[in-house]
Symmetry: C2
Subunit: 144 residues, 2 copies
């Protein structure tokens, strides 16, 4: 398999959301690190560890046929030499369905190897439903 | 203020959960990076950015008087020169209450500066309730 090469974390992230929108398992798995210990958490789901579990979950998500469109917002980033951490708000629309769905907050960790940048962790959770985008950062949690 | 110095990410993480158990806001904020762009997400909560928001949320959590005990489990770690990412399962018990509560999955990002290791991001979400610990990694997500 020819592995995709991403020269920056931003390129890897763009490829991740493109694969998600296309519901393309092969393209999705090209974004992930070959590291067996990759970690993926879907909203409300358990932790998936390793390429086999991560791939199978994406396959099951994509096979539903639902097509999603993503707009990435509010990026908070920490960049080191070989690791880049992006905490992002995913604004999601379902193709053919005008109803709004709750945004998702995701932490994406990209890691640099000899083969460029790849995704090592994707940890996503649904954000509370709030009408005003500007209020996203002000809600008080109720429990740790 | 004399800032605490943590020589390893593990020391910083131990101090984080100790501050949580003690419900000590000052000790908690010593664990966090002085970086204004720190990010904290409590289970079911919105994203908090910056020391002021992060501190106020911890204050509101701690003031309830509920005391929690944490056991950290299932650590998946990515270590780079100046950044260490720990994805952990938090097994939580409420002092004086024998009822089980759902475990929490957290991504903790620690960053090294001249002043040692500090927490830059804590992204936590409740895990699905599953009787068997061993089944934690096998549940299928329903939507990205």
């Amino acid at each position: 398999m020819t592995r995709a090469r991403f020269e920056t974390p931003q390129e890897a992230q763009a490829a991740f959301y493109e694969a998600l929108e296309l519901a393309d398992v092969e393209a999705m798995m090209e974004v992930w690190s070959p590291d067996e210990e990759i970690v993926c958490v879907h909203p409300g789901g358990s932790r998936l560890v390793g390429r086999i579990e991560v791939r199978e979950a994406w396959r099951q998500i994509f096979v539903t046929g639902t097509r999603l469109k993503f707009r990435i917002d509010g990026v908070e980033q920490l960049r080191a030499a070989t690791v880049s951490i992006h905490n992002v708000i995913e604004r999601i629309a379902v193709e053919g369905d005008p109803r709004a769905i709750d945004p998702v907050l995701a932490t994406n960790v990209y890691v640099l190897s000899d083969n460029g940048w790849h995704l090592w962790l994707h940890h996503a959770g649904t954000l509370p439903s709030i009408a005003e985008t500007d209020a996203l950062d002000t809600r008080t949690p109720t429990l740790h």
